[in-house]
């Protein structure tokens, strides 16, 4: 199989509200910077793929305007997934596996959650007959999963808080983080719940942002990057959606994806988990069998910034960036979409 690597990653600073730019205007500088970093022009990009959500953007065909920010002339080979941009990465990876002429691919994601109330908007991802008419917000749904973990005696609210503490501690070294700091778990546990047992620190912030990665195949990756982050395995799987049909303490699809990607059973230096809520981080550690000693979410994860529809792709970018910089040799990246870890993608990235 052809070898494909992530050779560069970039994103806008995670921020609560982008005061100036629209979606296309957020994407443009990220892509420009990325190409400059690698020293290629937009014409060297053979395939472009993005992820976004129309309901988050507030209008139909939301990604179309972003194409106008790419310098897509002469016309480009381009595609789009509705949803998390990690799936755009998957589409680009597949294309590179089967088309020799695609040597370099650009993948990006973007979203401005600040324009609406994302915890309510994303309710539209649920069953439109049985669930959406009740508007069960995303935090409440995550709380049902958290409760299942507590009831099963698998973990405690302190475990959740410790995950937040770890993420925000790591975020202190992330210059683009929206949130960071040294938190005291005891103090966190004294704060009120939003949807019990979840508190504010268990949830991600509202973030506006865009992100992008560049992929390159084989020799081209070597030529463009001293230390490419090779994609050794990449797979995604899905579970039934209805929470009342699932064992909420598990994420079978995350495990299946990890197994298919070859992520289980080998040592890794770092793991970036797309876990918007702290209990999901706990579940993923278990399902992906993250070995002890692995640094989890060195970027701060999505608790330092959650640019939705790009936040999963950022996880791949963060792992790759550390490999490219020589800070890690092997890492696992994870992305999710759907309520309570319904659909999961796992990738194994590795230096030479």
């Amino acid at each position: 199989m052809r070898e494909v690597a992530i050779i560069a990653f970039g994103q806008t600073p995670n921020r609560r509200r982008e005061l100036h730019r629209n979606d296309a205007e957020m994407v443009a500088p990220v892509v420009a910077e990325l190409l400059k970093k690698v020293g290629i022009s937009r014409r060297d990009v053979d395939f472009t793929c993005s992820g976004s959500s129309d309901f988050l953007a507030g209008y139909s065909f939301s990604w179309v305007m972003a194409i106008d920010a790419l310098g897509a002339w002469p016309p480009i080979q381009e595609s789009h997934v509705e949803g998390e941009a990690a799936w755009a990465l998957y589409e680009a990876w597949v294309k590179m596996l089967c088309q020799e002429e695609i040597e370099v691919a650009l993948v990006y994601g973007f979203g401005r959650q600040s324009m609406s109330s994302p915890r309510d908007v994303l309710v539209l991802m649920n069953d439109p007959y049985l669930e959406t008419p009740l508007w069960p917000d995303t935090i409440s749904q995550a709380a049902l999963q958290a409760r299942a973990l507590l009831d099963a005696g698998l973990c405690t609210e302190r475990d959740f808080a410790e995950i937040a503490v770890r993420n925000l501690r790591h975020a202190q070294s992330n210059p683009l983080a929206q949130l960071s700091g040294q938190l005291d778990p005891d103090a966190l546990l004294k704060t009120p719940t939003i949807a019990s047992p979840l508190r504010k620190h268990d949830c991600p912030p509202i973030t506006d942002g865009a992100c992008a990665v560049l992929l390159a195949a084989g020799d081209r990756a070597h030529a463009l990057c001293k230390r490419p982050a090779w994609i050794r395995g990449l797979a995604h799987r899905i579970d039934v959606q209805s929470l009342g049909r699932r064992d909420l303490t598990r994420s079978r699809s995350a495990r299946l994806a990890a197994e298919a990607a070859g992520a289980i059973g080998r040592p890794i230096d770092i793991a970036e988990l797309h876990a918007p809520f702290t209990p999901q981080d706990w579940i993923l550690q278990r399902e992906l069998e993250i070995p002890k000693g692995t640094v989890i979410n060195p970027s701060g994860g999505v608790h330092q910034g959650n640019p939705m529809m790009g936040a999963g792709l950022v996880r791949f970018g963060e792992v790759a960036a550390r490999i490219i910089r020589g800070e890690a040799d092997r890492g696992v990246a994870h992305a999710t979409q759907g309520p309570c870890l319904q659909q999961n993608m796992v990738g194994v990235l590795e230096a030479e």
Binding site: M1, S53, D54, F55, G58, Y59, S60, F61, W63, V64, M65, I67, D68, L70, A72, W73, P74, P75, I76, Q77, E78, S79, H80, V81, E82, G83, W87, Y90, E91, V94, K95, L97, C98, Q99, E100, V121, L122, L124, M125, N126, D127, P128, Y129, T132, A235, H236, R237, I238, D239, V240, Q241, S242, R245, R252, S253, L256, Q337, G338, Q342, Q343
Partner: protein, 387 residues
């Protein structure tokens, strides 16, 4: 590079303005069940599913494939969603074929769908945004200025659009799945429909449909598993260009010309009119046929209308290069499925399964899907022979 891939199963729903008897799951499964039956495979034998539809505002569900995942047999498997505007049904098939060509899966189900009756399509496609004056009044209004420019440039007579509409509606009479069945359709009938977006008459526009179309794509290993011979995928190609580039040629978009050129090169096509036996082209409004005939190399610039006028694209007139024997988008338009339908109808032809709209002895067929402001192109070539 890349393994061979073939279409071994095809299924679609009867397209109609309102499928009130089924929900999303029921309608999508109806198409999938037919494709699986044609492929002589069961749901459980499918390795992965690629699903396409246009904006989620139409049904008011974000990524509905997530809640449908179990009913589509994908629990524990890979389910992939594509959205590239009107071209999405084509892109969906291409992404599915790449999963096979990359060697990741042997049996992939692809399905495009839309249930447009759940909302107002004009609202859903272009909800009115702040600071944006409401001018256009629907997709027909968006494209009408392009048609006027084409007519100005080529000197095409006004009746060519009517002729294309009559031709596709007559083709639709041969296709039991087509939405519009107008047994009495005639030149006069279309000409007498209201001029909605001058130069475009009501009769020259596509309907708004509920519908789905599915295909089973397989590796060489399963290529002869289906109930008919496989349709081999000879080449696929995609191109996109910006929306608001000054001087962009909306009438003959470069993305379309580049896409066709790259596709033809891959498959060794030098004269599309001669090399193909038939074509399924995304003609949502009548004037797209002559315009796309030029873009896709079936006619010289300015001459596309003569091709349509000559009857060359008509099955009923015994044309040498029939376009949209199924009735095309002008007769059925469940947006997310419309591209898949083009790709599937091309495959039906080379499999010899097209029934009353079969082109005798069709061996090589072109399919095309179009999206956005005539800016997204997805195409494939299928043939009865192995590439």
């Amino acid at each position: 590079m890349g393994n061979r891939c073939a279409v071994i199963g095809i299924g679609q729903t009867k397209h109609t303005d309102k499928r009130l008897d089924v929900n999303h799951i029921g309608m999508v499964r109806e198409a999938c069940n037919r494709a699986l039956e044609d492929a002589r495979l069961s749901w459980k034998e499918i390795d992965a599913l690629v699903i396409g539809k246009a904006p989620d505002t139409i049904e008011g569900v974000i990524c509905p494939e997530l809640y449908m995942a179990e009913a589509l047999g994908m629990v524990g498997k890979p389910l992939f969603r594509v959205h590239t505007a009107g071209s999405v049904g084509g892109t969906t098939a291409i992404v599915g074929s790449e999963l096979v060509r990359a060697g990741l899966h042997d049996k992939v189900l692809v399905v495009g769908w839309q249930k447009q009756s759940e909302s107002d399509i004009t609202w859903a496609l272009s909800p009115h945004l702040p600071f944006d004056p409401p001018l256009m009044a629907g997709a027909g209004g968006f494209f009408a200025p392009h048609f006027r420019e084409y007519i100005r440039r080529s000197g095409a007579p006004d009746y060519v659009g009517i002729k294309v509409a009559v031709k596709d509606r007559r083709h639709a009479l041969r296709n039991p799945y087509a939405h519009l069945h107008q047994p009495t359709v005639s030149f006069e009938e279309i000409r007498n429909t209201p001029m909605l977006w001058d130069p475009l008459r009501y009769g020259e526009t596509c309907p708004s449909s509920d519908g789905a179309c599915a295909m089973v794509l397989s590796s060489e290993k399963y290529a002869y598993h289906g109930s008919a011979r496989p349709a081999w995928i000879h080449a696929t190609e995609m191109r996109s260009e910006p929306t608001i580039m000054p001087g962009r040629d909306e009438v003959n978009p470069r993305a379309g010309r580049d896409c066709a050129a790259a596709l033809y090169k891959k498959a060794g096509i030098t004269n599309p009119r001669k090399d193909f036996d038939c074509a399924e082209i995304y003609v949502a409004f009548s004037w797209f046929e002559p315009m796309l005939a030029e873009t896709l190399g079936f006619a010289e610039p300015g001459e596309g209308w003569k091709l349509s006028d000559s009857g060359a694209t008509s099955l009923d007139e015994g044309g040498d290069i029939p376009w949209n024997c199924s009735g095309g988008v002008l007769s059925s338009n469940p947006i997310g499925a419309s591209g898949t339908l083009r790709f599937a109808e091309a495959a039906l032809q080379v499999r010899g399964q097209a029934g009353a709209h079969q082109v005798d002895g069709a061996r090589l067929a072109l399919a095309h899907a179009l999206g956005g402001a005539s800016q997204f192109f997805a195409m494939w070539i299928v043939g009865s022979e192995k590439p």
